[in-house]
Amino acid sequence: MPERQLITGNEAAAEGAIAGGCRYFFGYPITPQNKIPEYMSEHLPRIGGVYVQAESEVAAINMLYGAAATGAWAMTTSSSPGISLMQEGLSYMIGAELPCVLVDMVRGGPGLGNIAPAQSDYWLATRGAGHGDGRCLTFAPASVQELYDLTGEAFPIAQKYRNPVMILADAVLASMREPCTLRERLDPPQEKPPWAVGGARKGRQRNIINSLWTAPPVMEEVNLRVAQRYEQARQNELRWTEHGADDPEILVCAYGISARICQTAIEHAAEAGVACRLIRPISLFPFPVQVIADWAQRVNKVLVVELSLGQFIEDVRLAVEGACPVEFLGHTGGVLVTPEEVAARIIEIA
């Protein structure tokens, strides 16, 4: 019988990755996610996997580039300053159409910032991926269980779309403990993808992993192929949850830890007589545009809550398309919002 265990988000991300088939880890320590590399350094060698402590995040992402080129199911994890350093490598991976998984346990920024919870890497995660037209497929869990599940699921998704997948969490999710039901650890597929380099060639055509396409029409073709995969992801990978009233006055939009906070806040608001519906996008790229657009037609106002000065709100605004006013509540720099504060804001704007 699967066991329900009390584990931290960091442990859930690490074990979830292993359960999902990850056998290679490259990383550089940074708080608040150090328990992930520490867990990997202990567990991967035991099951024939490989843990390498890179000399920097720049190195870690390029090790991942190499690992991915061989078709290995590999990952790195970091927190905001480290993810900044990985942008160049991500751009190369997208250009070379390579899959990988990253976890960003977002902390307060910019700069060295602090190690407190934040959601100010939204743009970095969903727009980012360095220069060029590429983006990371981005998913935002809101509980330890979901962090475990999504990190595991990210591996086949990355392979399917030949693109980096980013799990966007934060310092609360990293350090909090919740019950989590662990699955059996899956093995990654034996067979390598046809594009992978290395191993015995056995007469197959040689493979080249590359992001250099000097002829603009050829580069455009690559970009269009990548964009087409994003379009497929939009068809297949949209995820969100909904909570609250069926006939709401206010639509609350939040992702990750903020959405958890809002879940309690809309209960407080309901007690005060304001009916709300909460939409929590899980997939941030692709973004669940339609469900937000539909609800925006039926409410008086939208409230966006996030731990930044307003990044996620841009995607919500694009989805709402002016159907109703979009209000904002957020803190930044590692400061949390509380359910009481959100409830007060809901009542204020109702």
Binding site: P29, I30, E38, S41, Y51, Q53, E55, S56, V58
Partner: protein, 258 residues
């Protein structure tokens, strides 16, 4: 005589160096980061250069060095101190510039920056704190971690298969012509502390003379992540670390009269 009178009439023999602020340092008990700070500050005092010095704090337990040194200061991103120092020194050559870097900062993520600063013979000083772990992030393996040493990412001890070999930074830099002063010291006894200070002073003098890149490696203790008492940690430096990292002056162009 009452205590106050005694204090008033006595001659102080030990005071805080002028180049340190009176902010309380946040290092763990028994950590030698504090001694290293004091030595640098004493040298700045003795050479009379405090007013024209810029300290570069990097990322590690010493990240708050900008609060402790009573000089102008710049906080650099992880590993990039020598690049930041280069920028400052090239724009204001009269400024005395030093970086204060741990082994993670200098020997892992920042190895390229320090090597190239040395190769360009940049005229600033590096204070390199080698404590064989990443202290700030809770004791992971550093490039300088010894073979067999247990850390939070080498739970079974550092092995060649997983973590490779320790990196001897001074031996590496000694081959670079741009290096004008290079020494490895430690702070395990009063004698060693005095010697470490002599080397630090030399390094700054070399910078003042415009001779090029200077670096002093200080083998330092991290009782917290070595899981040792402070004195045990000092003993471990003497018994074990110094075997891997011999104490020595590698390059001294001031002495050589260049």
């Amino acid at each position: 005589m009452n205590t106050l009178a005694i204090i008033e009439t006595s001659k102080p023999v030990y005071t805080r160096p002028d180049s340190l602020t009176d902010i309380q340092m946040r290092y763990c008990p028994g950590c030698t980061h504090g001694i290293a700070h004091r030595l640098v500050a004493e040298v700045l005092d003795e050479l009379g250069i405090k007013e024209r010095t810029v300290a570069i704090a990097t990322v590690g337990c010493s990240v708050y060095a900008y609060e402790y040194f009573d000089t102008d200061a710049v906080q650099a991103s992880h590993g990039r101190g020598p690049a930041v120092a280069t920028g400052i020194k090239r724009c204001q050559p009269d400024t005395i510039v030093f970086t204060y870097q741990g082994d993670g900062d200098l020997a892992a993520i920042g190895l390229a920056e320090v090597l190239h600063a040395a190769a360009r013979a940049e005229n600033f000083t590096v204070v390199f704190i080698n404590n064989a772990v990443f202290g700030m992030t809770q004791g992971q393996m550093a490039p300088t971690t010894l073979m067999g040493q247990k850390t939070t990412t080498t739970p079974l001890g550092r092995s060649v298969e997983q973590g490779g070999y320790p990196l001897n930074i001074c031996e590496l830099l000694a081959q670079i012509p741009g290096v004008a002063y290079l020494a490895r010291e430690t702070m395990t006894s009063p004698k060693r502390v005095r010697q470490a200070k002599r080397s630090l002073k030399k390094a700054f003098q070399v910078q003042m003379a415009g001779l090029g890149f200077s670096l002093v490696e200080l083998i330092s203790s991290c009782p917290t992540w070595w899981h040792m008492k402070p004195l045990e940690a000092l003993q471990w430096i003497e018994d074990v670390m110094v075997q891997q990292y011999p104490l020595k002056v590698f390059v001294d162009k001031l002495e050589a009269g260049e």
